[in-house]
Amino acid sequence: MTPAETSAEIEKLHAAGFAWSMACCGRNREGAEDVLQASYLKILDGRARFAGRSSFKTFLFGVIRRTAAEQRRRTAIRRVIFASAIPAQPPAGEGASVDRLAFRSALARLARRQREVLELVFSMGMTLQEASETLSISVGSARVHYDRGKKRLAAVLKRRS
């Protein structure tokens, strides 16, 4: 894939990539923007290479997920070193309806993997196969996370309604 083609693919998937980055960063807008920028730079600098084994979307989403995980680790370490200097950033909640805030709170109760699989399938329209490639897990594991996550989410939403 040429650099021009890579740039074109990134541009095409930018909005969806941002939505996925928001999901990976717990709806923290600033963190999501940093993660997305770092992910794009990784791809454009050649530090993350698309081998063509999966779709570009799956590859891009995988890079975003790994970059978000790296940022979480770095933030955790920095929080330990400079305990008082870095305040925990709350997720963006402005402009969200009560319905959406309740949904976010229900999502936050799920295990990270369950949440990620549900986001990829329901929100990004991926199949379980694509979701498992993005998360670097087997399809079987993705299916288990999907089923358990959906049941748990349904239980939380039912309790709220």
């Binding site: 909005a15 941002f18 807008r29 940093d34 794009y40 920095r78 959406r100 329901f122 349904a154 039912k158």
Partner: protein
């Protein structure tokens, strides 16, 4: 609520969330043109660590420099009274240890006189081993 309805409801909520996120996405060019926040925050972190290290080093150097100076021209070194009392203390029964002939234990005895041939290197002492037996 039936299972299908629940699925539809979950899909609707996810879709709503995604649409809101996608609508608020920053422009791609603007995002790429920003200074790399990770590098700047890393530099900031390094700067903080360097500053803290320099401050600690300066404090340590200050303590090390000030302490000997205090001892050098800090006037007479006065011992605490309890220490001087302990140093000058003598047991009341010391007098009982002074017995006739006790000075013999405090002097080095002279075993040979100066005129003894043993000390004269010109006339070494003759060995007597096996002689006159």
């Amino acid at each position: 609520m039936r299972s299908e309805d629940l699925d539809r409801e979950i899909a609707r909520l996810f879709d709503e969330e995604r649409r809101a996120d996608e609508a608020s996405a920053p422009a791609l060019r603007e995002l790429l043109a920003r200074p790399n926040s990770r590098r700047t925050s890393w530099k900031r972190g390094i700067g903080r660590i360097a500053l803290a290290t320099a401050a600690a080093a300066a404090a340590t150097a200050g303590v090390l420099l000030l302490r000997p100076a205090h001892h050098r021209d800090g006037g007479p070194v006065t011992e605490p009274p309890a220490a001087s009392q302990l140093a000058s203390w003598k047991a009341p029964t010391d007098a009982l240890l002074r017995t006739p002939g006790s000075e013999l234990w405090t002097r080095v005895p002279i075993l040979v006189s100066r005129s003894s041939p043993v000390l004269d290197p010109a006339h070494p002492a003759q060995t007597t081993k096996g002689v006159g037996e």
